[in-house]
């Protein structure tokens, strides 16, 4: 009796761990790709099996948009998502904020020796699910392994490409005095959800990350108004709403005045921030967008956002003004005014 020469012991996805062999370019690496990545992310481009993917031409009258993103989140799993789904949403959103339709993603995984294959499987499957739901294919990828202690479980770098209709110009430098500032929903949920799972900080909260792909919402709001009415789209991720608005103010050479009372913040987020000494304006979001819109189109865009499931709580939160200092200021609910400055350093908790 002869054993089948073609038999290969399948990857131990229950108790196995990433080891240096998986990154050595030999059989172990090929097996990891076949049995985990290729299986989960399967599509015709990946199946080409070459060093790169041959993609079809863009639809006529479209330009190519590309965005890239590194993901190093800790912890890797958090309420409402994980690094896999986040990698997809983050990059899809960057492409979408250009006013482009996201088409394809690539993903590079930096794995740390000793990382549990079961967790990697969860992450890759979550990534595949998020990509499927977003209607984008992961068409190329890479894995590398670093020695224990030189990574934090897994880092993912993603690149996304999309198709931008000729003549559409949406960008951070296009805000003008008089424009309305719209926000697609309540802020701070992603940051608070992640913080709630940080070691040494763990607290109970019902808040889940808002991580979501926003290109559907973008398509809906762009369809509601004539081309050109939407000047800026941006997702307020790291650094939160405050940072995004400061970026827009600086790029466009304008100021912004916010109405604190109209910025939606869920009570649970507000309470967590109060406790930790954080300001929700600076806490990260992964499923929200800021739209700067010509004054005449503001109501229509707002209505279109509210008609989409990811924009139900959309609100008009402020106005673009002329200001040589490019300051973002806010009328407080209390009745005063303050500046909403760039975040300095990490948002560290105050101590008393």
């Amino acid at each position: 009796m002869t054993a089948s020469r073609r038999y290969v012991r399948p990857l131990d996805l229950k108790t196995g761990r990433v080891d240096m062999n998986h990154g050595a370019g030999g059989r172990a690496g090929a097996q990891l790709i076949d049995e985990l990545f290729a299986r989960a992310l399967d599509n015709s481009f990946l199946r080409q099996g070459d060093d790169g993917a041959r993609l079809p031409a863009l639809p006529a009258g479209h330009r190519l948009v590309v965005a890239t993103d590194g993901h190093v989140i800790s912890p890797l799993f958090f309420p409402g998502g994980d690094i896999g789904s986040l990698a997809v949403h983050g990059t899809v959103n960057d492409v979408a904020m250009m006013g482009a339709t996201p088409l394809y993603l690539t993903a590079a995984f930096i794995l740390e020796e000793g990382f549990a294959l079961a967790e990697l499987k969860r992450i890759v499957e979550s990534m595949a699910r998020a990509a499927r739901e977003a209607g984008v294919a992961v068409v190329a990828g890479d894995t590398k392994v670093v020695e224990q202690g030189k990574g934090d479980g897994v880092f993912i770098a993603t690149t996304g490409v999309g198709a931008l209709p000729e003549g559409r110009s949406i960008g951070g430098a296009r805000a003008r005095p008089g424009d309305a500032v719209l926000l697609s929903g309540s802020i701070g949920e992603h940051g608070v959800a992640v913080l709630s799972k940080r070691e040494s900080l763990e607290f109970e909260t019902a808040i889940e990350s808002d991580s979501a792909a926003l290109h559907g919402l973008v398509a809906a709001l762009l369809a509601a108004v004539p081309e050109g009415a939407v000047r800026v789209l941006r997702d307020p991720t790291r650094g939160g709403l405050a940072t995004t608005l400061n970026e827009i103010a600086a790029q466009s050479g304008v100021g912004v005045v916010l109405q604190e009372a109209s910025i939606p913040v869920r009570p649970q987020v507000e309470a967590a921030c109060e406790l930790l000494g954080l300001d929700p304006l600076y806490v990260a979001n992964e499923g929200k967008l800021v739209a700067v819109v010509g004054p005449a189109a503001a109501d229509q865009v707002l209505a279109a956002m509210r008609g989409h499931p990811l924009g139900r709580d959309a609100a008009r939160i402020g106005e673009v003004i002329a200001d040589d200092h490019h300051f973002v200021q806010m009328a407080t609910r209390f009745g005063g005014r303050r500046m909403v400055d760039w975040l300095s350093g990490e948002q560290l908790p105050r101590i008393c």
């Binding site: 200092h325 300051f327 407080t332 609910r333 209390f334 005063g336």
Partner: protein, 411 residues
Amino acid sequence: MKYVDEFRDGELARGLAARIAAEVQPGRRYHFMEFCGGHTHAISRYGVAELLPAAVRMIHGPGCPVCVLPVGRIDQAIALALEHGVTLATYGDVMRVPASARGIDGKPPAAGAPALSLLRAKARGADVRMVYSAADALELARRRPQQQVVFLAIGFETTTPPTALVIRQAAAEGIANFSVLCNHVLTPSAITHILESAEVRQYGTVPIDGFVGPAHVSIVIGSGPYEHFAEEYRKPVVIAGFEPLDVMQAVLMLVRQVNDGRAEVENEFSRAVTRDGNLAAQQVVAEVFELRPSFEWRGLGEVPYSALQIRPAYAGFDAERRFGLEYRSVPDHKACECGAILRGVKRPSDCKLFGTVCTPESPMGSCMVSSEGACAAHYSYGRFRDGEAGDAGGRAERKAGVGAGCQRPFE
């Protein structure tokens, strides 16, 4: 948010603002110092100053624990982490306080080398951890019994009891790898120091008509210790909570005291502060700590009996003793006005460094580090008003010598 929103109600704020405006006497100016950084933060974050009439000026006091920490103390902590290889745990704000420049591998620093901070020491390989509580620092020591863990303890009477408790706990558990670098300071001594300063007593360059008294500090020490200021120095004190309506109410109470010629200790924060304070907390503090004969404050200099040190009974947990640390005083940057700002003599925008080389991203002085610091608060929340029309009045007033040198609020 229940029990919080009530104290941030804009409607009530407008009502209080109208009452204050109605009660200030024409031609009279009111200068109140809010001692605490917590109040400074509330005033700037909620835009309280804008609701006050022009006759009321708020002066930011030295009650920001990070701001009064002198360079020499941070240097000690950095030396512990870099030279003694300890794990240094501390509160978040402390991480960015600028300290002395330092060479690499024992060499002297290059000319013009940037100031080090705990954050930058961390980037050089020091094991520096941010903790939310003293108990977390003790937990670090429990988890790694082979590693020396030092808790860099800072703060006024609010943060002192938790430090005392962990020292007592470490002693009870016999934890040999835990110690505390104690920098706890005392509110009443700092207030006395300001009231005794030449600017207030002799020259009158810092007019102070009353104090908004600390919130959390007073929960611990009670309202009793302030009676001395009211009696001896004839200054009204109103203890107030950290919510913006608390501050507004306290200002109204201070205006009334000034109008009536009274100098009393009043308690606006009666929902938390009693006359005697938290006796259990005071007792544990007294058990673990004793008065330090002298302590250097940034901005105030050496202030006698203004800080605490660990009692000999707990000497084993005193990082200064365990590692034989010596204190070396280091002067601030020559152009840095933190000292004058902390004493209420100058305001942030009077400093040449403000907003130019000194920003929250790269603070030169400690007032720019914590959001409770006068400079950082003004930079982050208030500087957009510096060029506004209303500001011209303030400048003209200072030139004319009315309230000269008075640090202005975030108008």
